[in-house]
């Protein structure tokens, strides 16, 4: 299980005159914990949106498990095993928390889910995330914190091989951050590869095996958490020094 899971080759994406991604290449091992950092507007979210398929990149290729998914429709990528959470929570607002999880279980994970046990599986995920007590509540009424947890839960319900978490920890209290980190680590132990975008530095650094830093659409450095902290480019990007 240590082969390459995801490979992104020379990816570029423009919005009109604005270059959001410029020749980005990276590779993720199966089972890896990758941290993705960079200042606001550096292209992190654009990158993972291209990987998950809601946006198509202009130039470059994306391979997942050795298969070219560059032009694959987003729902097929989800079925192939790529799941993401959204930075700004996008719950299915008319549904209960439980039904929110039924959607990915019945679609993305359909071929992998045991039939007839969708509800049990959904409950198991909720248990893992700690949302069981909210299962039958309307998702629109959740607190911000619970909505972020729901984001994570819904991504998990897709039974992904690659989980991309986009700032799930923003706004969480320190003990909750620790809680979520523990969950992610447990998932990783069960074999799920994780890409984490996070602004809470200590969380990324504690969690990731490897960190990539983006600035202005380009990868400015890559390495172990320790080496990243030392990097001059990163410091410049973050501190404007």
């Amino acid at each position: 299980m240590s082969g390459e899971l995801l490979r992104v080759t020379r990816l570029s994406k423009r919005f009109g005159g604005f270059v959001a991604l410029d020749n980005v290449s990276l590779s993720v091992r199966a089972g890896e914990r990758l941290g993705l950092i960079g200042p606001n507007g550096s292209g992190k979210t654009t990158l993972i949106t291209c990987i998950s398929g809601a946006l198509y990149n202009d130039v470059g290729e994306i391979h997942f498990e050795g298969r070219d998914v560059t032009r694959l429709l987003p729902h097929l990528r989800a079925r192939a095993g790529i799941a993401r959470s959204f930075q700004i929570p996008k719950p299915f607002a008319s549904m209960t928390v439980l039904d929110n999880l039924r959607v990915p279980l019945e679609y993305a994970a359909r071929s992998r889910a045991a039939h007839g046990r969708v509800l049990d599986e959904a409950m198991r995920v909720l248990e893992l995330i700690g949302l069981v007590h909210r299962a039958h509540e309307n998702s629109a009424g959740l607190t911000q914190v619970d909505m972020r947890k729901l984001e994570l839960a819904r991504a998990l319900a897709a039974k992904p091989r690659l989980l991309i978490s986009d700032e799930v920890m923003a706004g969480l209290a320190p003990n909750e951050v620790a809680e979520v980190l523990a969950i992610l680590r447990k998932l990783n132990n069960s074999g799920i590869t994780i890409i984490m975008i996070e602004h809470i530095m200590h969380a990324v650094m504690r969690f990731s095996e490897r960190v990539i830093c983006l600035d202005a659409g380009q990868i400015i450095c890559e390495g172990t958490p320790e080496s990243i902290v030392q990097d001059a480019g990163v410091q410049r990007a973050y501190l404007g020094a």
């Binding site: 998950s52 398929g53 809601a54 429709l73 987003p74 729902h75 097929l76 989800a78 079925r79 799941a83 993401r84 959204f86 996008k90 719950p91 299915f92 607002a93 008319s94 549904m95 039904d99 039924r102 959607v103 990915p104 019945e106 679609y107 993305a108 994970a109 359909r110 819904r154 991504a155 319900a157 897709a158």
Partner: protein
């Protein structure tokens, strides 16, 4: 509602409809009921795309007219019997719905709504310039002499429409409480998130527009036999489109029962107001009800009822 109870209720309503034709001869009631059922069928159809999937269709009258004019054309060309005409109306409506899906489902929200409006206008212009079906002048359809064992043709039309509406209710319920229904609801709530949850959004939207188009075509197919005179201004009547939107909105769009309740309430009110006050009041009432409901009770009657039930529960 439990499945058995649901099917039982449908059967009971159909039986009641049949019994009615045995007990009451007065044709007026069948006229009124036919119009209410037609509105209900349109509302149910609209709600599949509008309520379940979240795409507003302003061009309902266009689909209705497609059904009506399919009947006009095929009746004139081949003289087909009514059941085949209804099937044909549904097929053509469904095809156009599918086309609409392909053409415009790349458009989100209001752009889609405007495109449906434009589509209805284009179809109307085509019909106006198609002289075989009467063009702008309109055309007559003589009701056939035969009407099975019913006392009159309108009785038979009423029973046919009842059957079609009940079928639509069943389809709508099946769609809404199934995996497909959850997929549609996910699209309505957040299309990007739905895609990322593995929902094949394009395919489901095509299913949704096709079913909607087919149902509306079916609703329009018997119409020429009902009015006996069809012209573009009656077949493409904006009031049809308004009702198709207002009824689900008033009844509640999220639940399959919403459009049915809305149609029964608004449709019945309309029929009564039409004969007691005036047709203008009729339109005014629909307008006011629509505005009041969506401002004060955006979840419609079904939403109000649910809230009420929830509050009563400890």
């Amino acid at each position: 509602m439990k499945s058995a109870a649901f099917w039982g209720a449908l059967a009971a309503i159909f039986a009641a409809g049949l019994a009615l034709t045995g007990a009451v001869a007065n044709e007026y009631y069948y006229n009124a009921l036919y119009l209410i059922l037609q509105a209900a069928l349109m509302a149910i159809a609209w709600n599949i795309l509008g309520g379940f999937t979240g795409y507003v269709n302003f061009g309902s009258a266009g689909f209705f007219a497609i059904g009506a004019y399919t009947t006009v054309a095929l009746n004139k060309a081949l003289g087909l019997p009514l059941p085949l005409l209804i099937l044909a109306g549904g097929a053509v409506g469904g095809l156009v719905g599918l086309g609409l899906g392909y053409l415009t489902l790349r458009l989100k929200g209001v752009y889609f709504a405007i495109a449906t409006l434009a589509m209805a206008i284009v179809i109307e212009t085509l019909v106006i310039n198609w002289s075989y079906v009467g063009g702008a002048k309109g055309t007559y359809i003589l009701t056939p002499e035969k009407h099975l064992w019913f006392d009159s043709y309108i009785q038979m039309l009423f029973v046919v429409m009842l059957l079609l509406t009940l079928a639509a209710v069943a389809i709508s319920r099946m769609l809404s409480s199934s995996r497909i229904g959850r997929g549609l609801a996910a699209i309505r709530d957040d299309e990007v998130a739905a895609e990322c949850a593995g929902v094949p959004t394009l395919r489901l939207k095509l299913v949704s527009t096709t079913v909607m188009g087919a149902m509306m075509g079916v609703a329009g197919a018997p119409f020429p036999f009902f009015v006996t005179f069809v012209d573009p201004s009656s077949a493409f009547n904006l009031f049809i489109a308004v009702n198709a939107i207002a009824m689900p909105m008033i009844g509640g769009t999220a639940h399959w029962l919403g459009p049915v309740i809305g149609a029964l309430l608004v449709g019945t009110t309309q029929e009564i107001v039409k004969v007691t006050v005036s047709s203008e009041m009729n339109v005014l009432i629909v307008g006011v009800m629509l505005v009041v409901f969506i401002t004060l009770a955006p979840q419609g009657i079904v939403g109000l009822a649910r809230k009420h039930l929830r509050r009563r529960k400890p």
